[in-house]
């Protein structure tokens, strides 16, 4: 069966993009959002630590990890990765409505496809790698 080497992705190990400026910015945004969300929930009670872990720390951590995930080759995937990172960051403020944010993920992905075409998207995210 003939298929290109490295299809559908590169074969190299996944290495976090620690030194990438945009990744650092997104990660800092995630940290700031977690701090802000914690501040908004003050005063804290030890009995609520599980809710905070679930609704604030979990989405914040995922956003942090996503921010440093390796950059995809395809432009729309790079945009999708960044938008999902921002969306996950915003989820720290969603509380119980986080379910609705999950349902809306396809809309976020659709926006990333739309942004992949215009000049704006290409100027911000660059062209195909």
């Amino acid at each position: 069966m003939d298929f290109p080497a490295g299809y559908p992705y590169r074969l190299a190990p996944l290495v976090p993009a620690w030194s990438d400026g945009k990744s650092q910015t997104l990660a800092a945004l995630a940290c700031a959002a977690v701090v802000l969300a914690l501040w908004m929930r003050a005063p804290w009670s030890l009995a609520d630590v599980d809710t905070i872990a679930l609704q604030v720390v979990l989405p914040g951590s995922l956003a942090f990890v996503l921010a440093f995930a390796p950059s995809p080759r395809v432009l729309a995937n790079r945009i999708a990765k960044d938008l999902v990172t921002v969306w996950t960051t915003l989820a720290v403020f969603a509380g119980d409505r986080i379910v609705l944010m999950l349902v809306a993920i396809p809309a976020v992905l659709a926006v990333s496809i739309a942004l992949g075409h215009p000049r704006l998207g290409r100027s911000w995210w660059g062209s195909e790698l």
């Binding site: 996944l14 009995a47 599980d50 951590s61 379910v99 349902v103 396809p106 809309a107 496809i113």
Partner: protein
């Protein structure tokens, strides 16, 4: 000593909250450390994701079983789904998913299973007030290994090593089925204030029966499409572990995106059956994902990787509507026995009733190396089937309803039964024909 006093000083509510937070954040932190330390390649990362995605519906199913069998219970009623604490659930899925998968780099999967079970046996009784174990809870532990841990590790290891796509397809059918018929409806209906019983109930009207039948038929087509990805494309429906060729056969000969259409339609039918606006919203969400992102993914990845095959396929097969007759690329070869039931059906029924379906089909006499009495080959599509599976492939040359019949015939349990029936028919025919020969000699 100070630590013990501090634990004693905690109220039960505080202790419970700390346990729940630790069971979520502990596995999450461990998984993050393992990713950084082990630097998995994309295939290993995909395998870890497969293991996690398996665990969510599997652990939910285990919880439902646990409730019905009384193995254990979670008394706390905050942040839960059907009584299963969401934080514990996610943490457990990470622990038995990505953490277990990444640990296979260091130790054997068997050792991982033994270690996980040992840890559970030791820790579960100590985790009060979070979980209360009841008599016979070790039965639940055995069920957990069989339903959750072992299948997740198996699917993950096979994905990592890119082995046995047909077995991986079975896991994907079961896993996605778990999301479609169990997890997503449970989450949405609970969010709306109802429960899984709104969907999992007996039909009460002709409309209910029609919706249930339509959903079942669509699920059959979805399974056929998944099997086609595995057997012909040597891949799976998940975008990170795709087929290694453009699959143009089975349901893909009629529509380019059968699985996406079916997922959205089935969810819409479920919404009608459960009278749920939330499930209707999920169906819209599926449709949006399929129409925009999945469509782009196909053209952005498959079309780039295999441009000629994709161009031929996409020029002939519509993306969102069904062709009445299939797109058949290249010639098919049918080897059929000189006599017997297969030959009788071919001569007396097939060529008369289905004249249009024999176009592009080259028929020859069966030879010893062909095996069973009927063989169907389409080398350019990678198809080589025998017996009833070959008959089912022939039906795929016909209009859509006949092709659907072929997909039902290829569904493994049904296909196996039909093969046995056809074997019995051959035995009967042999006995009859030898009896006739004897009578002729006697006369």
């Amino acid at each position: 000593m100070v630590g013990k006093r501090a634990v004693i000083a905690l109220t039960p509510a505080e202790l419970l909250a700390i346990e729940r937070a630790a069971l979520l954040l502990g596995p999450l932190a461990l998984a993050a450390v393992m990713v950084i330390m082990l630097r998995p390649n994309p295939r290993e990362a995909t395998a870890a994701m497969v293991a996690f995605l398996w665990q969510l519906p599997a652990l939910y199913l285990l919880h439902l079983l646990s409730v019905s069998q009384g193995w254990w219970s979670f008394p706390d009623a905050r942040n839960e789904l059907s009584g299963l604490p969401i934080d514990v659930w996610i943490g457990w899925a990470i622990w038995w998913g990505p953490v277990a998968m990444l640990a296979t780099r260091l130790i054997s999967p068997v050792v991982i299973v033994i270690a996980a079970v040992t840890l559970d046996v030791v820790s579960m009784p100590l985790l009060t007030p979070l979980v209360q174990v009841h008599d016979g809870w070790w039965m639940g532990e055995a069920a957990a290994v069989m339903i959750c841990l072992a299948p997740a590790l198996t699917a993950a290891v096979l994905t990592r090593d890119d082995r046995l796509p047909a077995v991986r397809a079975v896991f994907h059918v079961l896993g996605w089925g778990g999301y479609l018929v169990l997890l997503i409806p449970a989450a949405v209906l609970s969010f709306e204030g109802g429960g899984l019983a709104d969907l999992w109930r007996l039909p009460t009207s002709p409309l209910d029966v029609a919706l249930a039948l339509a959903a079942s038929l669509l699920l059959f087509v979805g399974i056929a499409a998944t099997v086609e990805f595995a057997t012909i494309g040597q891949g799976t429906p998940i975008p990170f572990d795709p087929p290694k060729r453009v699959v143009t056969t089975g349901p893909y000969a009629f529509v380019a995106n059968p699985m996406q259409i079916i997922s959205a339609l089935v969810m819409l039918l479920f919404a009608g059956y459960a009278r749920s606006w939330g499930l209707a919203l999920i169906a819209v969400s599926f449709a949006m994902f399929d129409a925009i992102y999945a469509r782009w993914y196909n053209t952005g990845h498959i079309a780039h990787a295999m441009p000629e095959a994709w161009q031929r396929f996409s020029g002939e097969v519509p993306e969102w509507s069904f062709r009445w007759r299939p797109f058949v690329e290249g010639e098919a070869e049918v080897a059929i026995s000189r006599d017997g039931p297969a030959r009788w059906v071919w001569d007396r029924l097939w060529r008369r009733a289905c004249a249009g379906m024999t176009r592009g089909v080259h028929v020859r006499q069966r030879e010893a190396h062909d095996g069973l009495r009927l063989r169907y080959r389409r080398p350019n599509a990678g198809i080589d089937e025998k017996g009833m599976l070959a008959a089912a492939r022939l039906l795929e040359h016909g209009p859509l309803p006949l092709a659907v019949l072929g997909w039902v015939m290829r569904f493994p349990p049904i296909g196996a039964v039909l093969q046995v029936v056809s074997g019995l028919a051959v035995c009967w025919w042999r006995r009859e024909s030898s009896g006739q020969s004897r009578r002729r000699v006697d006369e």
